[in-house]
């Protein structure tokens, strides 16, 4: 599980083809085609309720798509057996929009959970060290024995991030990592995402409405509109776009 590749290989780690998903009376994803190369920070933007969260949940099979192919790290996500799926999921970090911290567990237990469940805990000492390191990454070591209900919204977000990163995934899916944070913390988080990319060559998919986050982290930006990809491009390309809708979004 080494993510430490020195170069962009041009390998496509995420490939979505003709992805369709609709809920009763609500055709959310109509035809999404998307490829993301290894080591890239891909930002997905789009209006609220357009289906961004649904899209990334399809990638880890939290939601079964109606049609289409999803290939992640060379695996057909929708034809994997449970064990193989869990093996793949181990390599994918998922930061939930609402943090999804286990509120019956302490911060420590929250961070231990993915390690223990994936049998990557090692000894008690190793476990402790990993937890503390993850907390140090987000600067919240002092909260280790607190319950989630005792944390502020921003702290929760950062603990959630620490939990997402603790398995050192190859692909990280961020669902609005900076929403609800002050500009300074928000920048720190954006910086953390870049640092991870630099150090570990992780591939990231970042859903965000935060333009400053987009600006810092994005290699490529994908615009989701009306159930499919509207356009893609770098930050500068889209900022200078003549398209009125995109213009509206960026300014």
């Amino acid at each position: 599980m080494s993510a430490k590749l020195s170069e962009h290989t041009g390998e496509q780690v995420v490939k979505l083809e003709h992805l369709k998903k609709s809920f009763p009376d609500n055709p959310v994803l109509r035809d999404v085609n998307l490829t993301i190369p290894k080591g890239e920070n891909a930002v997905i933007i789009g209006q609220s309720g357009i289906g961004k969260s649904v899209l990334i949940k399809c990638m880890v099979r939290l939601i079964e798509p109606d049609a289409g192919r999803i290939e992640i790290l060379g695996h057909q996500v929708n034809s994997l057996e449970e064990e193989a799926l869990n093996g793949l999921r181990k390599k994918i970090g998922f930061l939930f929009q609402g943090n999804a911290l286990y509120d019956s567990m302490s911060v420590r237990e929250n961070l231990e959970f993915p390690l223990v469940r994936n049998k990557m805990a090692g000894t008690k000492k190793q476990l402790e060290r990993q937890v503390i390191q993850a907390l140090d990454n987000v600067g919240l070591r002092q909260t280790i024995d607190m319950m989630p209900s005792e944390l502020s919204g921003g702290m929760k977000k950062r603990i959630g991030l620490a939990r997402t990163l603790i398995l050192q995934p190859e692909i990280i899916l961020y669902d609005e990592p900076t929403t609800g944070l002050d500009p300074i913390t928000s920048k720190e988080i954006s910086q953390l995402i870049i640092d991870l990319q630099r150090h570990y060559h992780t591939t990231s998919i970042i859903i965000t409405h935060d333009i400053s986050c987009v600006k810092i982290t994005a290699n490529t930006i994908h615009v989701l509109k009306d159930g499919s990809l509207y356009t893609s491009g770098t930050y500068n390309e889209l900022k200078q776009s003549k398209d009125a809708w995109i213009n509206n979004f960026f300014n």
Binding site: N86, I92, F94, Q97, N99, A100, D103
Partner: protein, 257 residues
Amino acid sequence: MKNDQGANILSDITGLVRFTVRVVRSMMDPPFENREMMKQSYFIGYKTLPLIAVTAFILGLVLTLQSRPVLVDFGAESLLPGMISVSIVREIGPVVTALICAGKIGSGIGAELGSMKVTEQIDAMEVSGTNPMKYLVSTRVLATTLMLPILVFFADAIAFVGSYLAVNLHGEIAPQLFLTNAFAPLHFYDLIPATIKTFIFGFAIGVIGSYKGYTAGFGTEAVGRAANSAVVVASVAIFIIDMLVVELQHSMEMLNF
């Protein structure tokens, strides 16, 4: 997801049946979440005992006080312990315990899983290499199924104590004589079907609470709704199961088991 507005009972039932099949299947194959199961058993069993104890005690006491005058009229006061013991063991112990557990445990499971569902904790578990069906649901269902009978044994015993005290209010009776009188009319066909049905009650409470929580909609109000309908559906289920088990009881009685 389903729209709860005017929730269709039929689709609710088919959903519940399908969910039950999933639960049973996930309980069958390994790995088993023993630690989590112990933890749930602790909360569902041990932590519910005080509530059950108080209720059962009062129940035994009151039931005895209320039944006494009728038997006194017939000059059959000595039958009091036996009559109370049969009603407690057969019916009141299991059903009242199950109803209390539906209220406390069923709603607890519904609310807990509901809020986990709504705040994506269940999704988070799933991507952390954990089958929530096993980790969250099976453990709870197994814990309720195994703990409810034990709670009922305690409830029966404590209700006997309450009954003993009530009998004693009107004159001394030695505990030994009370027990002899209480056990005299009891057969296996009183005890065994009653015990079997407590397992079923426990299973129903666990499954229904889990189902309601697991299929909660969106938002915090969905959590409340999940907890609420868990109690309602579980309570109704308890009565229906109770009715069906009467048949079992009768057939055992026929065999004089």
